[in-house]
Subunit: 335 residues, 2 copies
DNA sequence: TTGAAAGCGCTAACAA
DNA sequence: TTGTTAGCGCTTTCAA
């Protein structure tokens, strides 16, 4: 059998309380007993049970992470950065792929509650307001990353989507483009709407009218980006530049354009969003807006652990600035 | 406070034993009490504590997953498939990014033990034999995916690397290539050696001598693939085809070749391995060897849960066949 | 069909 | 500086 605190106590000739104190670094224990306890623990390869410890009122030291899909490079990077920071602070991460499916989200959240995770990080759009309010009432620390949730008073880390949309579009107007299209992922998302607002602001600033024909919604996939691009290029006055609201859409756009013989960036400029690993791999490499994903990951973890350690700590909303990464997929328009 | 089994029992006018039985579907309880218990649980939103349940001798229903890095698309897909299957079977996944670092591996494994996970899936090359033996002795179910570990008697799921190497190389010989190079990730890995062996076998079968100058080791990165490719192309008799042992290396190879004006596939054919999402994104799209990653993920989870549910179940070693996916990065040699 | 009670491994008063 | 002891929330055996 696995050794328990009792075994250690017995062999060291002390009480379990003493052993517990040694491992938790509380109370004052003589160096001599400490040493003895460590020696014996070492020898038996004692692994204190966080299950028992959690039941006795301490934390489980695990955090749940709900994301749509780790295969999506943006979320993979998010997961990595969150996990890194969590690990630094002594927490493990339980990963949950929801595919943005309401039922899965609900199911995972229930499971995480039963596991008594110390907190939940949401990168997925949980639309079940009732559930969420329950969680908050239950005092289960919740933090949001790259997601808005107005009804919810929860700590949040986001990127300034307006600024992102603005810098993408103004980069394109700066290059001299007049017909600039935007492909957004899901117009219901606050982030999409903000990016569009930034785009619009940039166009107006450049004295270019906002033209609804150039604003498209697409499902979140390569194929979706391609399809929408074809629609755009079929217009009588096709755009000379496309700003896609994420890298995958941008790549779909590039592929579709190439397929019909439209060369990039010569005949069509493309700008993406997210700066995932994919952006460095395409040909030409993708000019895109980088989300400071590492900082974001670190921040959510810091916010949520703060709340875990002090339930009445103030909830914060942190907005980080995105950054334009110029690579090769955009340049001045042809004529 | 969160409702406990006592609250439910009291309100339902029964004992905690009865409530426990109802939730675990054991013993025989009258429909009437069952109904009552469910109603009350519903009302209080009772979430049975798996922490307490685990302490009382049941499972934690969580599995640890050690991978080098989720950002690597191959491991992201692996993680996704494993998580999906685990979730289907009622298990959660704790994700651990080790960067193939021995210390991190050790550290994570200790943490997972303390958390009393029901099992650990290893996709990373834990080189600490002593640790591993301890785990086995401790009866902690371990399963390996895409990794060999001869000393270890643990359930294993792998792809037939020899067959993979063979089919990549024989595809290239079939196209008429005579000077075919191979870039492997880490010659210490059994998988690399097997792929090389398959490659060699195909060459010999085609009557082409095995030439050591064409066998290169590279670190696992885009840059590594690029650097190695440059070395290869600098040879007096440069290869007309490169088989890279993973997609990332293959893409690095393509990028390096393009950069020096060598066009793909006209002047240089490239074949990858893994068939990650990246393969569909490059230009030209990458011809590569697909690992049946979904089946592999499912199988490891099935193997490990089998062992979790029945500690003396027989350990298995499952070998799946890879498949050549022809896209656009390889064709007949020029002259 | 139901319940009493011991125990899982640990923590935290409180006492000594 | 160390120990006693009562839980934490659940499961399970045995009895009723």
């Amino acid at each position: 059998m696995k050794p328990t605190i009792y075994d250690i106590a017995r062999l060291a000739g002390v009480s379990t309380a003493t052993v517990s104190k040694v491992f938790n670094n509380r109370g004052s224990i003589s160096d001599k007993t400490k040493k003895k306890i460590f020696e014996i623990s070492e020898e038996l390869n004692y692994q204190p049970s966080v299950v028992a410890s959690a039941l006795a009122g301490k934390k489980t030291y695990t955090i749940g992470l709900l994301i749509p899909d780790v295969v999506n490079p943006f979320f993979a990077e998010m997961t990595r950065n969150i996990e890194d920071r969590a690990h630094e602070l002594g927490f493990n991460l339980v990963i949950c792929n929801t595919d943005n499916d309401v039922n899965k989200e609900f199911n995972y959240i229930q499971l995480l509650r039963q596991k008594r995770v110390d907190g939940i990080i949401l990168a997925t759009g949980v639309r079940n307001d009732k559930l969420l309010k329950e969680l908050i009432n239950e005092q289960l620390p919740i933090a949001l990353i790259a997601r808005e949730m107005s009804i919810l008073s929860a700590s949040t880390v986001l990127v300034d989507d307006f600024a992102g949309g603005y810098s993408a579009a103004s980069y394109l107007t700066g290059l001299g483009h007049k017909r600039i299209a935007i492909i957004a992922e899901n117009l219901k998302l606050a982030s999409s709407r903000e990016r569009i607002r930034g785009y619009r602001y940039a166009l107006e600033e450049a004295g270019i009218g906002y033209d609804e024909r150039y604003v498209k919604e697409s499902d979140f996939s390569l194929a979706g980006g391609g399809k929408t691009t074809n629609e755009l290029l079929d217009e009588p006055e096709p755009p000379t530049a496309i700003f896609a609201c994420n890298d995958l859409l941008a790549i779909g756009a590039m592929q579709a354009a190439k397929q019909r013989g439209v060369s990039i960036p010569e005949e069509l400029s493309v700008v993406g969003f997210d700066n995932t690993v994919l952006a460095a791999i395409t040909d030409p490499p993708l000019t895109t807006i980088a989300q400071p994903i590492q900082a974001m990951g670190q921040q959510v973890v810091d916010l949520i652990t703060q709340e875990i350690n002090n339930p009445k700590s103030i909830k914060q909303r942190i907005v980080l600035l995105p950054e334009l990464i110029v690579r090769g997929s955009a340049r001045e328009p042809a004529e």
